[in-house]
């Protein structure tokens, strides 16, 4: 039986003391007392795993993760180390740190055994091809496979800052590229107005008004309102589209998730 099973679900007494199962923080403290008073590294390691499980039950995933970080991995067997890394992956996911969760899952060497979780973490890390492969592995029925295929047809296209910047020179191409066509239309109207004003003034030999006034206007509408704004919003647009896709995938693969319930 793995350490997770042993320390998540079995012992609720420490050195003969009955532990109040309803208060995970008190239970965590009792395990910490074991760590404090014991010289046996095996007992200490086990107590730390148990403490982390208690903290996770109380919703303190950050502290649970820090408790697992105190475990000396080199003292563990490969199987136990893998289980600890798996727990770290689950706690990191609960904390919303999908990158770290993926790292721990891959390091555990058991990622292939949890294809649903692996698929969601890969998608959140923008590795869509691998995520697609794992998602298909995680489902068995034809209808589920069809749903996965259908979802992966709508894989978000990761936008590039360079492309957004280059397209921004032709309003509203940058905004259309970022999926904001109405902003693009407004930006185009403002820029055409500013450019028209500049040209009109220069043709009318109002050089100062044309060059300086047009320069001020175009600084607002073109440089700040168009190019800078588009470049600044690329990462936000990417994060939003990846988040939405990952959430849809997580919803679809829900039955296959939760390999070792961190609670």
């Amino acid at each position: 039986m793995s350490i997770i099973c042993i320390f998540l679900f079995v012992p609720f007494s420490v050195k003969g003391q009955e532990v109040d199962r309803d208060d995970p923080l008190e239970e965590a403290l009792r395990w910490e007392r074991v760590v404090y008073s014991s010289d046996d590294p095996v007992v200490v390691q086990d107590a730390l795993v148990s403490k982390a499980a208690c903290l996770a039950r109380s919703g303190s995933y950050g502290e649970a993760l820090r408790t697992l970080d105190r475990i000396r991995m080199y003292l563990l067997s490969p199987e136990d180390a893998s289980e600890i890394l798996m727990l770290k992956s689950l706690y990191s996911k609960k904390l919303g740190d999908y990158g770290a969760a993926l790292g721990f899952l891959e390091e555990s060497g058991s990622a292939e055994n949890h294809p649903a979780l692996y698929s969601v973490l890969l998608a959140a890390s923008r590795r869509f091809a691998e995520s697609h492969e794992q998602a298909l592995r995680s489902v068995s029925s034809q209808s589920e496979k069809a749903a996965v295929e259908s979802l992966f047809k709508k894989v978000p296209r990761i936008k590039k800052e360079g492309t957004a910047a280059a397209l921004s020179f032709i309003p509203p191409a940058g905004q259309i590229y970022l999926g904001r066509p109405w902003d693009g239309l407004l930006s185009m109207l403002l820029n055409v107005g500013a450019a028209g004003f500049t040209a009109f003034e220069i043709i009318g030999h109002d050089w100062v008004t044309g060059l300086l006034g047009g320069g001020l206007l175009l600084n607002e509408t073109f440089l700040k309102g168009n190019i800078s704004k588009n470049i600044a919003s690329v990462e936000d647009a990417n994060e939003l589209s990846v988040k939405r896709f990952s959430e849809s995938l997580e919803e679809l693969l829900k039955p296959g998730l939760n390999p070792g319930n961190p609670n």
Binding site: E32, Y36, V208, T209, K224
Partner: protein, 329 residues
């Protein structure tokens, strides 16, 4: 009178200036100029004192067990920064004692429950083993909660004064805390009296004494910037008030914008006459930005002064706390 003018300007601005940026309708031209690439060079972050948590922890009924049995375990938890465990431990049912009050207060202090921490620190008698530490932490708790007068009142109480009238191990620490509180309360005479006890020789206190001396010199010198000077400077040379306020980027951005609008107005005046709509439009814009810059410069100095005082106060509170960690190690 200057204060009245300041209040009127604030009311006109419709909202009080927050850190960093001039707000309100009058501040709009200023914000447009400051948001340019050149203007943004001036952006900065001001450290602030953490906000106290006013909620209270309900402690359980007292029990039989003595907390001193777990004192070493508590220190182990505290030294390793296992705050949740330390909190859970002192939330246990223990027999009433000064030690229990002190340990509970310590945990509350870490949790920023400063009012409740101050109450518990205050319960520990000065003559008990944790008395001096509790006393100085109570002062820091009250100070962090913004209750400067109350904290100063504790330090200047007759019992403390008589205790330290002939020096002793905590005399200089008391002087340091009293001096810091004098700075926070803006009392120059008290500051001069207490800071005269600084020796800069005790390694636990020297750094804090040096920092407070620097802040004291700045705070009570007449070198602080005046908002009126900034407004006047911007009226003479657009953007100069911003430079005076320490915002070079915003000053340059204002100078270029208002200069350009002025040039446009002049060109339209020469080519189309003073009553032409283009001249009036350009002139109105120029005037709006010119006035906006004067207003923005005035407010920027107020904001800069406010930010500087906030940063200094944060440093003072930090340096009231810092020596305690070494003194009571």
């Amino acid at each position: 009178m200057p204060r009245l003018i300041h209040i009127i300007i604030l009311l006109l601005a419709l909202s009080f200036p927050a850190q960093g940026q001039v707000r309100g309708i009058l501040g709009l031209p200023d914000r447009i100029m400051s948001s340019s690439r050149i203007g943004r060079v001036s952006a900065r972050v001001v450290p602030t004192i953490p906000v106290a948590d006013s909620s209270r922890i309900q402690f359980p009924e007292y029990g039989e067990r003595n907390i001193s049995e777990d004192y070493d375990f508590f220190n182990y938890l505290k030294d390793n920064d296992f705050r949740t465990d330390a909190k859970t431990l002192v939330l246990g049912s223990y027999a009433p004692s000064d030690t229990l009050d002190f340990l509970r207060a310590t945990v509350l202090f870490s949790d920023l429950k400063l009012a409740q921490a101050s109450e518990l620190f205050g319960r520990v008698p000065f003559d008990s083993p944790f008395g001096p530490e509790s006393f100085y932490y109570q002062v820091v708790s009250l100070t962090s909660a913004g209750e400067y007068d109350k904290a100063y009142g504790l330090l200047s109480s007759p019992s403390i004064r008589s205790r330290f009238s002939e020096g002793g191990p905590y005399a200089e620490l008391t002087a340091l805390q009293a001096a810091g509180l004098s700075l926070l309360r803006g009392k120059e005479d008290e500051w001069l009296r207490h800071s005269s006890s600084f020796t800069f020789g005790d390694y636990a206190l020297a750094e804090s004494e040096r920092v407070m001396s620097e802040i004291g010199q700045r705070r009570f010198s007449s070198k602080s910037k005046h908002a009126g000077v900034a407004a006047l400077a911007s009226a003479v040379i657009p953007g100069a008030g911003k430079v005076y306020a320490g915002r070079l980027g915003e000053g340059v951005a204002a100078f270029l914008t208002i200069g350009s609008l002025g040039a446009i107005t002049a060109e339209n005046w020469v080519r189309h006459g003073g009553k032409d709509w283009r001249t009036i439009l350009a002139g109105s814009l120029c005037a709006t930005f010119y006035l906006g810059n004067i207003y923005g410069s005035y407010m920027s100095v107020s904001i800069e002064n406010n930010d500087r005082i906030t940063a200094e106060n944060t440093a003072i509170v930090y340096h009231l706390h810092l020596p305690l960690r070494t003194v009571f190690r």
